[in-house]
């Protein structure tokens, strides 16, 4: 397994692709060597694309008996030192929770993709964001956190695969990409950057590749029967999470300068909110958008910094209101935080969000404010 040469560098390449396909293509280019998965709408294209394309380009791609099997194969394969991933959608991701907890504790770097659909239960196959809590607070047992990335475009469906793998390797931690059915199914323009896996994949001296005479055996385990040892492991994990929180927060901030109202949204809801924010700006409402790109670590700091100048925050989600807790934790009671959302696979419209923004801003939001600000996105990486 010559992992560093798995995928040669390719030049940038622009295509019109489904989000699921872009993600799969990026995985191949990121040097992913193994994919284990089980079909489920709306993400089966990942498996299908990799079966065709990935195999052609040397990847091991397997449709296996279940998501439970898949996540444990990821454990095994990634534990053996390879770049390995799986993908699924909500119910399938629930089935992986035990496995993810094991992976996090054994500190095995890998990539898990959840193309979120409407739940709970079997629900609907339409796009939703109802798995936010599961992804960010820990759907499995015990204290652990995957790094959670939330793409908002097909381009980011690709970009976050590279980032996700790199972060996973950097921290020996699972990365979760939390997308949704629309991002998976829609086609948009996507550009694949130059990326040479050999420059990104670190040595993995901890991997179980067979114990040479001259090193101690490598053991990957999450079992530490002595509470003292288990506490030590937990402290080490917590320390790692602190480092991640300190170094890896990513978010997008739009129109923040003079904002009185802050819309907070991630993924598809953020795209829609962005549009609504632009519409509101056109009407002179001083509103900004904060889009967390990393859901874990969460950009609490930007909220803390902004809270004193805000009149209110509006959280827009495709769920019953989950991220709102993190926003509340961020603004610490300083400003009222309102929620607007749709559920069950329904996508909010920019008009609906605008309506909520207008409601928050009140009628008399000050005449003469109707200046249209040029959109200025800044993708910040805090301290990184």
């Amino acid at each position: 397994m010559n992992r560093k040469n798995a995928t040669p560098t390719e030049k940038p390449d622009i295509r019109l692709m489904k989000g699921n396909e872009a993600l799969a293509e990026a995985a191949i280019r990121a040097g992913c060597q193994g994919y284990f998965g089980y079909p489920i709408t709306p993400q089966s294209e990942v498996l299908e694309y990799l079966t065709e394309e990935g195999r052609k380009r040397g990847m091991v791609v397997m449709q296996v008996e279940s998501e439970l099997a898949a996540i444990n194969m990821v454990y095994g394969g990634a534990g053996a030192g390879a770049r390995v991933m799986t993908s699924s959608s909500s119910p399938g991701i629930s089935l992986m929770q035990e496995g993810i907890s094991y992976i996090a504790c054994a500190e095995i770097p890998c990539l898990v993709v959840n193309v979120n659909r409407g739940g709970p239960g079997l629900g609907t196959i339409q796009p939703a964001q109802g798995d936010y809590f599961q992804a960010t607070k820990g759907g499995g047992h015990g204290d652990y956190h995957p790094i959670v990335l939330a793409p908002a475009s097909v381009q980011e469906m690709a970009d976050m695969v590279y980032l996700g793998f790199d972060l996973a390797d950097k921290y020996r931690n699972p990365t979760l990409i939390l997308a949704d059915g629309a991002l998976g199914q829609m086609m948009e323009k996507v550009e694949f950057p130059e990326y040479n896996p050999a420059d990104h994949i670190p040595e993995k001296p901890w991997a179980t590749t067979g114990k040479p005479k001259d090193r101690e055996r490598n053991i990957l385990t999450s079992l530490h029967i002595q509470p003292e040892k288990m506490e030590e492991v937990n402290r080490r994990l917590q320390k790692k999470y602190e480092t991640i929180c300190a170094n890896e927060v990513r978010y997008q901030l739009v129109h923040a300068d003079d904002a009185e109202i802050l819309v907070v949204a991630f993924g598809l809801a953020a795209r829609i909110s962005h549009k609504a924010v632009e519409m509101a700006r056109a009407q002179g409402i001083r509103v900004a958008l904060m889009r967390p790109i990393t859901l874990y670590p969460y950009p609490y700091d930007v909220l803390r910094r902004m809270k004193s100048t805000l009149k209110g925050a509006l959280v827009v989600e495709m769920n019953a209101g989950q991220m709102i807790e993190d926003v509340r934790l961020g603004v610490e009671g300083a400003v009222p935080v309102k929620y607007f959302g749709r559920m069950g696979g329904i996508i909010p419209t920019p008009e609906e969000v605008l309506e909520e923004i207008r409601r928050m801003s009140g009628d008399g939001h000050g005449a003469g404010d109707g200046h249209h600000h040029a959109m200025h996105d800044q993708i910040l990486e805090e301290r990184n």
Binding site: L16, T41, P42, I125, Q126, P127, G181, A182, Q185, M186, M187, E188, K189, L268, R271, I272, H274, K275, A276, I347, P348, T349, P350
Partner: protein
């Protein structure tokens, strides 16, 4: 200029590739584009549809509920989506599959006998490209050139020998626009 299009019909009618062709062409023209298929299990029944957005600004949601243009390729699609056309919008439909034609009066309605036109071009599968042509005849949101180039990208390589006939279909569709629009009255017979 932004065009929000819904194309709906049966599985085999080339619904998705029609949409992709338009989206790809838009991309080549430097537009912001998105293409979104329906993927519900209603596909079991054999229906398919996709939403194409061609815009000057970034597309917010790929899933929308009202459209500038509806291309309805069968009766269930027409029944279901007629009301989703924006006031003043356009509705193209495949004449051969429609039993009950649309009744709205606040939109432009064009029946297109794409199936027959396709047969005339000796390829039953290119009805969708006839429709693309009609769409182009009505809108200049994307250039004909880009559509032609898009075809190469959208058609799988094994079908590349069919590019010429697809081009012909697009051309034929464009040329139909005059004819079809004048026959509008008649379609409401």
């Amino acid at each position: 200029m932004t065009q929000e299009i819904l194309i709906a019909g049966f599985g085999g009618q080339g619904v998705l590739s029609m949409g992709m062709t338009l989206a790809y062409a838009g991309m080549l023209d430097g537009k912001e584009v998105s293409w979104m298929p329906s993927y519900g299990p209603e596909m079991r029944g054999g229906t398919a549809n996709c939403i194409v957005i061609l815009a000057d600004e970034p597309v917010s949601s790929p899933i929308i509920t009202s459209f500038d243009t509806l291309v309805a390729l069968n009766q269930p699609s027409l029944d279901k989506f007629e009301k989703a056309v924006k006031k003043g919008g356009t509705l193209l439909y495949e004449k051969s599959t429609i039993i009950t034609p649309p009744t709205r009066t606040d939109i432009t309605i064009l029946p297109v006998d794409a199936a027959r036109e396709a047969e005339l071009l000796k390829n039953k599968k290119i009805g969708n490209m006839i429709m693309v042509g009609v769409f182009l005849g009505l809108n200049d949101v994307v250039s004909v050139d880009s559509v032609m180039r898009a075809l190469e990208k959208v058609l799988p390589e094994r079908y590349h020998h069919l590019i010429p006939v697809n081009r012909d279909a697009v051309e034929r569709g464009r040329s139909l626009v005059g004819e079809t629009v004048t026959s509008l009255e008649e379609s409401h017979e």
